[in-house]
Symmetry: C2
Subunit: 336 residues, 2 copies
DNA sequence: CTGTTAGCGCTTTCAT
DNA sequence: ATGAAAGCGCTAACAG
């Protein structure tokens, strides 16, 4: 917390060596006489020297900053990924520079410009509005890892990781079937997102596999936000179908749906069973605790950052896609 | 998204001017012949030039990075503040460099070192484990703004902003009193945090003001996390007091308390009324929607960043402390 | 193993 | 109004 700036020069002088030697010790770039090593360390301590990573970045041509582009800083969904990234970066010389693209291409491009102007060492992008071409263009200039999108980046040394949404939705719906439900509704996610379609597909596959007819009247559109779940549930309820369970494309909408039920005095799961998707932090504590499909966001963040780190070390890593898992809690009742 | 690095030199050559002129145009540092201005802009466009902020930082002695130290990246509570900071920084040349101190002094110090080594222009710290002396030491070297702590920083050009926890708790409890409740429990927050005591104090003041006795057996200790709310409620229920309402020191614990009630088949608010604190994002959608005290975290983030920005402009700003507000929803019933 | 010498890309005097 | 030149603090050849 020193005030005035101490530089390598001063440390070198204090320790009676050259700046280059100080630098070598700092970076472990070459072997150094242990005696001088100690002298330098002492000088650093005494002077309260702290390397200027900006200057270092200028000469090495890259900062030890890893850019992170997220669509939304304040979303718990994404902040878990950030937590994972942070964890992976801990103990490394890298720090995350986080920026939000607000779900739109224009902002994302602008923010990317800022990130890039900081000479970031690598870039991590969460489900963005960028085109595949944009992404590939980016990857050509900086090690890139993308989350939540399937983009071919391997030839450019990048990687993308995405979840098996279809499989997760299949598992969720199948669980309902296994519990004896026969008329199962679905509240879809935002159609603009590929995963909403994947989840619908999984729902459909589970139904068909069980010999249950797919009925369009049992599916209603949402946008992944709470109010749309509430509205969706109302629509489903008013549709007149004898449904006993609803699979919601995410927990947010499940919460909305649950509220709609509450408003009508219907009990969960006794009157209607509910399954969500994402298993967000609060879901174990809703009333009743929500059965959901866990998306390992934190693990994904870890994987993302570890991939980037490995690339930075010059390796050619491969990413493990963390798998989804149905978490059974209390929002589904067994029917017979 | 260019690959090779384009520099001012090349832009200058392309435009037929000196690098100094390009710099002047980039920064608006001095008036320049409009003709050359255009030529330079064209060259920049053509070459796809993007200033290297690292180099710029080296010469100006400061990056346009604003360091943010948060105790926890993945907490929704704090990510709202981040959102506010981000919003305030938008359109300015500054970007946030976010780091997490994991709620302990050692990590915070380490992470601070990283932040500082990036020559951050200003520093924003959320409720940290640092001592007042640490904080004052920091403030001496970099414009500092602290959230959630009362620290005297004015003489160093810094500022701290914190909420009126006592007042918020008073309002919450008083609401319960006004709704006819006479035996009101309290689940306290983590005693290590000053705000837990503040909130207890507000609860107590409201009680006393209403002529209700303060009863230690009605207060139980929690740690601000969900499970502690559940446990706390159980303890309260088993305490044998005829309570009709409980004020929880935060929404997390209120959710836990609500779950405890659900487990015992008790209805909210019919059998017991509940008030929380923080008004976290999910609270409008719990069953029933939770009455809570809104902490304007996003606004706080805005205020924090705006203060820093103003200081960076050389002004001597003052901070407005955003005020708390009781949000009445459906978790409290009127008694008579 | 270690010191000397050049810059990295940019801004900023200082002249003109 | 503009160019030339001098660094910002650090690392990376290159000699020794």
């Amino acid at each position: 917390m020193s005030k005035r700036r101490v530089t390598v020069i001063e440390v070198a002088r204090e320790a009676g060596v050259s700046p280059a030697t100080v630098s070598r010790i700092l970076n472990g770039t070459a072997a150094v006489d242990p005696e001088k090593q100690r002298a330098v360390e002492k000088a650093i301590e005494q002077l309260g020297y702290r390397p200027n990573v900006v200057a270092r970045g200028l000469v090495t041509g890259s900062s030890n900053i890893i850019g992170v582009l997220t669509p939304d800083l304040a979303s718990p969904y994404y902040s878990d990924v950030l937590g994972g990234i942070e964890e992976a970066l801990e103990g490394t010389p890298y720090s995350p520079l986080i920026a939000s693209g607000h779900w739109n291409r224009r902002d994302e491009l602008g923010v990317l410009d800022v990130l890039l102007s900081h000479q970031i060492a690598a870039l991590i992008v969460f489900g963005s509005s960028l085109s595949e071409a944009d992404l590939r263009g980016l990857a050509a200039g900086v090690p890139l890892v993308v989350l939540g999108r399937r983009v071919e980046l391997g030839d450019l040394g990048g990687a993308s990781i995405s979840f098996d949404d279809e499989g997760g939705a299949y598992a969720a719906t199948r669980h309902l079937v296994e519990q004896g439900h026969r008329v199962i509704g679905h509240i879809m996610g935002d159609e603009a997102h590929e995963d909403a379609h994947e989840r619908l597909r999984g729902y459909r596959r589970a139904l068909e596999e069980a010999g249950l007819p797919f009925d369009g009247a049992l599916v209603t559109r949402g946008d992944y936000r709470v109010p749309s779940g509430l509205l969706g549930m109302q629509r489903l309820l008013d549709g007149g179908k004898p449904l006993t369970a609803v699979f919601c494309a995410n927990d947010q909408m499940a919460i909305g749906a649950r509220l709609a039920l509450y408003r009508r005095g219907m009990r969960v799961p006794d009157d209607l069973s509910l399954v969500g998707f994402d298993d967000q932090p609060g879901s174990p504590y809703t009333t009743p605790p929500l059965t959901s499909v866990r998306l390992p966001m934190r693990e994904a963040g870890l994987a993302l950052a570890r991939f980037a780190l490995a690339r930075l070390r010059g390796e050619t890593p491969t990413v493990q896609v963390p798998s989804l898992e149905l978490v059974v809690r209390e929002s589904v009742v067994r029917r017979r």
